[in-house]
């Protein structure tokens, strides 16, 4: 590396530990403690990427998370590869591999750079204006736009790293470990508050930790030395937990915050094995102290984006903290005093400063006099009007500013430089404060937004609160924290400060140029290539709201959310529109503050934990017997059981035939079960179901249909009266939780006078359904004591019995139209009873069947499945289920809605059966149903809801909803498909055994 750029430093660089890394396929060296940015700069590299739209060469601009330009791809071609990483935040380690993104074929020669030459025809909104018409062309444009505008590559294989989530509860959370954050954390912890201090950097102390100048002292010690002692003290406090490399991503209401703790990203890959990479901290704090500091503003002038143009504060951090000089011929360009601190840091190490360009006419501070004493030329009242150099700045032109700062006057002077540090003052980092719902106010004198109204128990301190001078920061921190925590002891006796800076500033949002605005490229948002010209164009085209201007010009819409340029955008808007700052509001800063990886967001919820599923007690048997599963709600249900290479169709045909010919067995454990008890249980059921329940005898079962108050079918199932005041209700598998919620709602809020108690018992019972002509013989073998005669145990009744001394409930109910039994047994005995039934059914070819066969069997009988044949727009009348709607009952949920003008329309969609002209042709579920295909546009009458080939009827059957279908029996309709039209006839939805002979057969 060029030795002339690296200087001795004691802070975080370990000069005994050399680290090699690769950038764009070339090997470089840095030191342990370097960021990728500091290491590249030490190697003389500024150009690291290309801009998004114009593909202009871009360099490292900042030294922190606000970086808009130095966005790189980390890890090449591996499962860890990560796009859009800020080089300023990456700590280097041995073997690191990184590359530029958004350039092709290379960062030094990029074909997309042609966009820069075309830029006069690429104004704001160009993509919207050009590529959206005609709409059908978008697909063609998109390919090229994506190729030339891509920001990095996403990994193609699974992430090998481990992530996790952690909840933290604390009394006080301090965000940011700069000088005010350190003081606040000490005051909180020493006064008995359980405190958490977090900072996004790897070290504590913020920018004060390298404030080594004679011009900044606390209690007569150099600021950095004083702060080091403070840090030393707090690191021993028991009440205080400190987390570095931890960035708060989101500040939600009620002091709920999300933070990302980075645990292994700074380690060589081979040391990361089995370690958690990142942790998402979910923090609930009683009190929050925000001390997030401030971000230096750039200045907006023509060609202000060349590599080598950096924030002045970044130049200071690189030299003071990392011992890296960003250039050998530096010029600083400022409108305030902070650039003079950078100058002093450079002067102390003998690094050349060619000039300082200062917008101000009058400069009056100790530090500026000291800089002048070192024979550095200060151009007072000047501005930069142009910069030169393609891959790195090499020259600037400067001119004198007019008195009002709106134009430039006099002659142009050219100055050489290889690095230009800019300082436009400071913007408080209020992002988290506004995320939390806080309201800002605009402070005229130095043109900043500062926190005004807090939405929760929180406070902002230090420069994020608009306190910029050292004295102000310390004085106000002590005062506000004492008040905020209600403590008497501040832990600090007297704190005397000395500062060589004063706070004067000459704020000009858009610096004037000798060229017309149309000929300039003054970047406001570097990442998205939005210029001052674009913003003015948006205003000319009528945009006024900052939110609209932002979207039209894409200002602030990059991965950095415009941390550097948003204020200038607002400034330019208000100057151009002639309004006051603050009147346009600010754009909303949305979480996360800096991008999060998907890994961090999902934590451990990957693979089998992505969506936890529920298994029935008989699940293992299904697995052992080759079942295919389908997801129903969160349940894994056996779908079908293929035998000897059967496909699904063949398996289902075999299963459904066996169930009707001899015996089938189904695991129905997933059905929702709600235990209902209380003296008003019957009355309650009367109110929630459409049919009457008061007269149901103990020991009997009844099918019920439940509506929403709007009259639409909500759920269905069989409910059994177990005792005088005791029922067990079954619900659909997917609806169980919602039904319980709905019943609780009515019970607690509308009918609190009813004596009824509800309890979910879905998981308590295994439910085994045995059906078919031989079901009776099988059940009699499993439960020999039970009298199964029709007289003693008729259809729709229930018995308490014992199987091997285990109590169980047997219901004689049917969802297939066959003679069948449902055995409910304590869940942990489910599998053994299932196996008992299989054993007892061996001689009868008992056939396990899954949900697909169950659907087919019930469709043959025209039984609906709520959620498949219904979709919250169908009433029981639409379903041709008038028989279940009580005319006598005065009221039930949804009754009144059944005769609203809309629900009594004759032309509503109604459930019908559909038979295809060709009995072998099976319709597609979801297919549209029409009557006239010649009409244009074709009127859609409805759609197919269920469709199967029935092996028992030896033909295709389907259910569907059709407008006015009830009166269309026998009518011909058409199902138009991609390559053919299928003719169907409207039929009765009950296809098999309408008279119920199978159900009532004497067995």
């Amino acid at each position: 590396m060029p030795n002339n750029l690296r200087f001795k430093t004691s802070k975080i660089i370990d000069e005994t530990y050399r680290v090699s890394f690769k950038f764009n396929n070339k090997t470089y060296f840095g030191f342990k403690g370097d960021t990728l940015a500091s290491a590249l700069l030490a190697n003389g590299i500024h150009l690291v990427g290309r801009s998004f739209k114009y593909h202009r060469p871009r360099g490292i601009m900042t030294s922190g998370s606000e970086e808009p330009n130095a966005i790189i791809q980390l890890h090449d071609n591996s499962s860890r590869t990560e796009p859009n990483v800020r080089a300023t935040e990456v700590e280097i380690y041995e073997g690191l591999v990184a590359s530029s993104q958004n350039c092709w074929p290379s960062v030094n020669f990029d074909i997309g750079g042609i966009n820069n030459l075309l830029s006069p025809i690429l104004p704001a909104g160009f993509y919207y204006k050009t590529f959206m018409w005609p709409a059908s062309f978008w697909e063609k444009y998109e390919y090229f736009i994506r190729k030339s505008a891509g920001l990095g590559k996403s990994p193609k294989v699974a992430d090998p790293d481990i992530y996790e989530h952690k909840y933290i509860h604390c009394d006080v959370l301090v965000i940011g470990a700069g000088i005010s954050g350190i003081m606040a954390a000490k005051m909180a912890a020493k006064n008995g508050f359980k405190t958490l201090l977090v900072d996004e950097k790897s070290y504590l102390g913020g920018s004060s930790i390298y404030d080594n100048s004679e011009f900044s002292k606390i209690n007569n010690q150099i600021t950095s030395s004083w702060l080091e002692k403070e840090i030393n003290e707090i690191s021993k406090l028991e009440n205080l937990e400190i987390k570095t490399r931890t960035s708060v991503a989101a500040f939600h209401g009620y002091n709920f915050l999300l933070a990302r703790e980075n645990l292994t990203d700074h380690l060589p890959i081979n040391q990361r094995e089995n370690k958690v990479r990142q942790r998402l901290l979910k923090i609930r704090a009683k009190k929050v102290i925000t001390a997030t500091g401030s971000i230096e503003r750039p200045l907006i002038f023509d060609n202000n984006d060349r590599p080598g143009i950096m924030l002045s504060s970044a130049i200071k951090r690189y030299i003071d903290l990392y011992g890296v000089a960003c250039g050998e011929n530096n010029i600083l360009f400022t409108n305030n005093d902070t650039a003079y601190e950078t100058a002093m840091s450079l002067i102390q190490r003998g690094i050349k400063i060619n000039a300082i360009i200062d917008n101000r006419e009058q400069i009056d501070s100790k530090i500026s006099y000291e800089v002048e004493k070192n024979n550095i030329k200060i151009y007072k009242g000047y501005t930069v009007v142009e910069t030169y150099g393609y891959r790195r700045i090499n020259k600037i032109s400067i001119m004198k500013l007019s008195k009002d700062g709106q134009t430039v006057i006099g002659d142009k002077t050219k100055l050489n430089c290889d690095c230009l540090g800019v300082s436009g003052g400071w913007t408080p980092a209020v992002h988290l404060f506004t995320q939390s719902g806080g309201k800002l106010k605009f402070r005229e004198e130095d043109q900043v937004f500062i926190p005004n109204v807090y939405s929760s128990d929180q406070i902002s301190i230090g420069s994020c609160n608009g306190d910029f001078g050292l004295e102000e920061i310390i004085k106000n921190t002590l005062f506000s924290i004492k008040k905020f925590l209600v403590i008497d002891n501040s832990e600090y006796k007297t704190v005397e400060t000395i500062s060589g800076l004063n706070q004067s500033k000459r704020n000009i949002w858009l610096l004037p140029s000798d060229k017309s605005l149309g000929k300039t490229k003054s970047f406001v948002d570097y990442q998205n290539d939005a210029t001052a010209k674009d913003i003015k164009l948006a205003l000319r085209e009528g945009f006024r709201s900052i939110e609209h201007v932002k979207r039209y010009t894409t200002t602030g819409m990059g991965t950095d959310q415009g941390k550097l340029g948003n204020m200038h955008a607002l400034g330019i808007i208000s100057e151009t529109a002639g309004t006051k700052m603050g009147e346009h509001g600010t754009t909303t800063f949305r979480p996360p503050y800096t991008p999060l990886t998907f890994g961090t967001i999902v934590g451990r919820n990957v693979g089998e934990f992505f969506d936890i599923f529920r298994r029935t007690p008989i699940h293992d048997w299904h697995v052992a017997n080759n079942a295919e599963f389908e997801n129903v709600g969160q349940w894994k249900r056996a779908w079908y059981y293929p035998k000897d290479n059967e496909n699904m169709h063949q398996a289902v045909q075999r299963e459904s035939k066996a169930a009707r010919d001899s015996a089938g067995i189904l695991d129905a454990s997933t059905l929702g079960k709600i235990d209902i008890q209380g003296t008003d249980a019957s009355e309650f059921l009367n109110r929630v179901y459409t049919n009457a329940w008061s007269k149901l005898a103990v020991g009997k079962c009844r099918y019920g249909l439940m509506l929403n108050e709007d009259g639409m079918v909500y759920d269905d199932g069989v409910t059994t009266r177990l005792g005088e005041n005791h029922y067990i209700m079954t619900t659909t598998t997917g609806g169980a939780a919602n039904v319980l919620g709905k019943l609780e709602d009515y019970l607690q809020t509308e009918w609190p006078e009813l004596d009824v108690y509800l309890s979910s018992v879905t998981d308590h019972f295994a439910t085994i359904s045995v059906c078919g002509p031989n079901s009776k013989k099988i059940v009699s073998k499993v439960i020999p004591d039970l009298d199964l005669s029709d007289e003693k145990f008729p259809h729709m009744s229930f018995k308490n019995v014992k199987i091997d001394n285990i109590k169980c409930r047997v219901m004689r109910i049917s969802f297939t139209g066959e003679h069948s039994y449902e055995i409910n047994i304590q869940a942990n005995f489910g599998k053994s009873v299932w196996e008992k039934c299989m054993e007892a059914g061996k001689d009868f070819n008992i056939t396990p069947y899954g949900t697909e066969t169950m659907h087919l069997l019930r469709a043959e009988k025209g039984f609906i499945i709520v959620g498949q044949d219904t979709d919250a727009t169908l009433t029981p009348i639409d379903l041709q289920m008038d028989w279940i709607v009580s005319k006598k009952k005065y009221d039930f949920i949804g009754k009144r809605s059944l005769y609203r003008s809309d629900t009594i329309r004759e032309d509503r969609k109604q459930l019908v059966g559909l038979l295809t002209e060709n009995p072998e042709e099976v319709l597609e579920e979801g297919a549209q149903i029409v009557a006239d295909i010649k009409k244009s546009p074709i009127e859609m009458l409805g759609h197919v809801t269920s469709s199967y080939y029935s092996p028992n009827l030896k033909k295709s059957i389907a259910l569907g909803v059709v407008k006015g279908g009830k009166n269309m029996l026998g009518q011909k309709l058409i199902i138009p498909m991609e390559n053919k039209n299928i003719n169907v006839t409207v039929a009765d939805p009950v296809f098999l055994d309408k008279e119920g002979e199978r159900l009532n057969a004497k067995l």
Partner: protein, 91 residues
């Protein structure tokens, strides 16, 4: 994310709760005697206020109890929680 003070359990995370719409809408005692318009008023019409709103919440992953909440929808401040059947504590 809110921290909700369930009247039965105390402070819990919002993720344990489910919002249930506007509070103090009483189901008509005799729905059959209402006109279509009157029934529609009960069934569909909700205020959705910007400001102080009375709403129903259910501690669905907790005690399963429904209760009422007074919330300022403009800043999400919860002003009060109270049990079903109780009078709103603020107006």
């Amino acid at each position: 994310m809110f921290l909700i003070n369930c009247p039965f359990c105390g402070e819990r995370e919002q993720s344990e709760f489910k919002a249930g719409g506007e509070a103090h809408i009483v189901r008509p005692k005799q729905p059959t005697e209402l006109s279509d318009d009157e029934w529609a008023e009960y069934l569909f019409m909700r205020k959705n206020i910007k400001g102080i709103q009375f709403e129903r919440w259910n501690h669905v992953h907790g005690c399963r109890k429904w209760f009422n909440m007074v919330r300022d929808t403009s800043n999400d401040q919860i002003k009060a929680v109270y049990k079903m059947g109780e009078k709103p504590p603020v107006k």
